[in-house]
């Protein structure tokens, strides 16, 4: 279980102006094996929340714990998938997927077998010796996903992983992620700014407020898993999307109001 309580974080601004608060007393609990989508206006602090969970930054105040243990730095329990893929351009697909295993001193033979299994699982068999520049964006992010899964983390942290992909590729990767999640349930924290994506993927959707971020609302999606093929036309799917759209629009309006005052 991930528990975030009264978590605050600000970033120092340039020119000696006061620090910019990004998170202000955020509370959130995420259960084991749950798929949580974090949704909010752009620049609201979604990525910061994820970086805190990954142990890449520490909070100014408040506490983050995984199974009761406070997060003090990057933990082997978490696997990260990055928005910009963050693949090593000089390493081939197999070496990129094996990166986390190598860092964790997994013996070479086992490393290779495990990396190969994940390359197959994300549908990249036959591309093991290709370099990132030879792959499309969607294939590159498949490598990113395989790299995160290779270390078999209990928690998968995904930072707008499909944000830079075209809509068709995005849908294909969403389907694959759902399939992989169904086969091997992990806790997933998935940051996105797409309402459609959040409803399509998540068990729960955490709606954040504009910066500094607090949890504005938590929405139970309540759609069956595996997600039905006619998901796009299901009334619950459409209704939830509609509701979230309205909430986001209101939030944006409120945000501008606050800025004017």
């Amino acid at each position: 279980m991930i528990a975030i309580s009264h978590c605050s974080k600000s970033y120092p601004s340039q020119n000696g102006e006061p620090a910019i608060p990004v998170l202000a007393g955020l509370d959130l609990t995420i259960n084991d094996r749950e798929f949580v989508c974090v949704l909010g206006p752009s620049g609201c602090g979604k990525t910061t929340l994820l970086r805190l969970l990954a142990g890449l930054v520490l909070p100014d105040a408040g506490e983050l714990t995984i199974d009761g243990r406070p997060i003090t730095g990057p933990s082997p329990e978490c696997g990260l998938v990055f928005q910009d893929f963050a693949l090593l351009p000089w390493a081939d697909v197999l070496a990129n997927v094996a990166f986390g295993l190598e860092v964790r001193s997994v013996p070479p033979a086992e490393r290779r077998a495990r990396a190969q299994a994940l390359v197959d699982a994300v549908g990249l068999a036959g591309f093991e010796r290709h370099y990132p520049r030879q792959l499309s964006g969607g294939m590159q992010q498949r490598v990113g996903l395989a790299r995160a899964l290779a270390v078999d983390p209990a928690i998968l942290l995904m930072d707008e992983p499909f944000g830079s992909l075209d809509s068709q590729t995005r849908r294909a990767l969403q389907e694959d992620l759902l399939r992989l999640h169904h086969q091997n349930r992990k806790t997933v924290v998935f940051v996105t700014h797409s309402v459609d994506e959040a409803v399509r993927l998540g068990d729960r959707i955490v709606l954040l407020s504009a910066r500094p971020a607090r949890v504005e609302e938590i929405i139970e999606v309540g759609l069956p898993r595996p997600r039905p093929d006619d998901l796009g036309t299901s009334p619950r799917f459409v209704g939830t999307k509609e509701y979230l759209w309205k909430r986001l629009k209101r939030q944006a309006a409120a945000g501008t109001g606050a800025n004017v005052i």
């Binding site: 963050a86 090593l88 000089w90």
Partner: protein, 270 residues
């Protein structure tokens, strides 16, 4: 699909071979025109100071037959053989260290900047005063010419590495050793090749400068002797040898650089 990829890559490399041939043809043509113009100018101006291209080639032919020329070539290169590897072996680790550890860079950056902007010829007299007119002084001069640019280029290469990769490594719990092995060293390698190429060009500049200005041995001595004899064709011949060698070495270094940086890729195969 895989078949299609191979085919497209093969035709791609064929196009590249054609490109290389075309480029070489242009270079040869351009050189031929230069030689033609030179020959023409040499014949029309008719002065002792501008030999014709043919006279220069003749002088080169004659030089190549003398023991004096080959021994001068060897003597000059001793300085490069000593000075350049020493510069590379020290400059590349120094550049890596300065690129990685900002605290170190804060201390040493000002010194490197000074070395970079100081005209190297200005420190040559100091080197000769300290070390005399021997091989040591020439080797150190070559070192002084090649070292700063190699440090700076390596440092810049390391800093150029995408910070997001370093964050990725940190998120996966990579140790400093892993970060060096998998990210910093492979990521800096193309810049190191560039550093070697730039350093080599500087080393040859240093070699000629010290021999012409201070320690009259080797090729420098040869040039000065021919100059005193008003044998312009031979002066030009020696200069051509140095230029051709530099061009050749830099060409080799450029090829190595491209090969090492192949992952950066000129063409995207998708």
């Amino acid at each position: 699909m895989p078949g299609g990829r191979t085919a497209s890559r093969r035709s791609g490399s064929g196009a590249m071979t054609r490109r290389v041939v075309t480029r070489t043809a242009w270079r040869v043509a351009s050189l031929a025109v230069l030689l033609g113009l030179w020959e023409l100018a040499g014949r029309t101006v008719d002065t002792l100071l501008l030999p014709t291209a043919s006279a220069t080639v003749g002088a080169l032919w004659h030089l190549a037959g003398t023991r004096e020329f080959w021994s001068a070539l060897w003597i000059s290169h001793q300085a490069v053989v000593i000075g350049f590897p020493a510069a590379a072996v020290l400059a590349i680790p120094a550049g890596l260290a300065l690129g990685r550890w900002t605290a170190l860079d804060r201390w040493l950056d000002v010194h490197l900047s000074m070395l970079l902007v100081t005209p190297k010829s200005a420190i040559m007299p100091l080197i000769v005063m300290a070390l005399g007119l021997g091989l040591m002084a020439r080797g150190v001069t070559v070192f002084a010419f090649a070292f700063p640019v190699m440090v700076a280029t390596t440092r810049a290469g390391l800093r150029d590495i995408d910070g997001r990769l370093l964050e990725m490594a940190r998120a996966f719990g990579a140790t400093e050793l892993h970060v060096w092995r998998r990210i910093l060293l492979p990521g800096t390698l193309p810049a190191v090749a560039t550093a070697v190429r730039l350093g080599l060009a500087q080393a040859i500049a240093g070699l000629v400068a010290v021999e012409l200005l201070l320690v009259a041995v080797g090729l420098g001595h040869l040039i000065l002797t021919f100059q005193a004899d008003f044998d312009a064709a031979s002066v030009y011949a020696v200069v051509c040898v140095v230029a051709a060698e530099a061009a050749l070495l830099i060409r080799v270094a450029t090829l190595a650089e491209r090969r090492i940086g192949a992952w950066r890729g000129d063409a995207v195969h998708t």
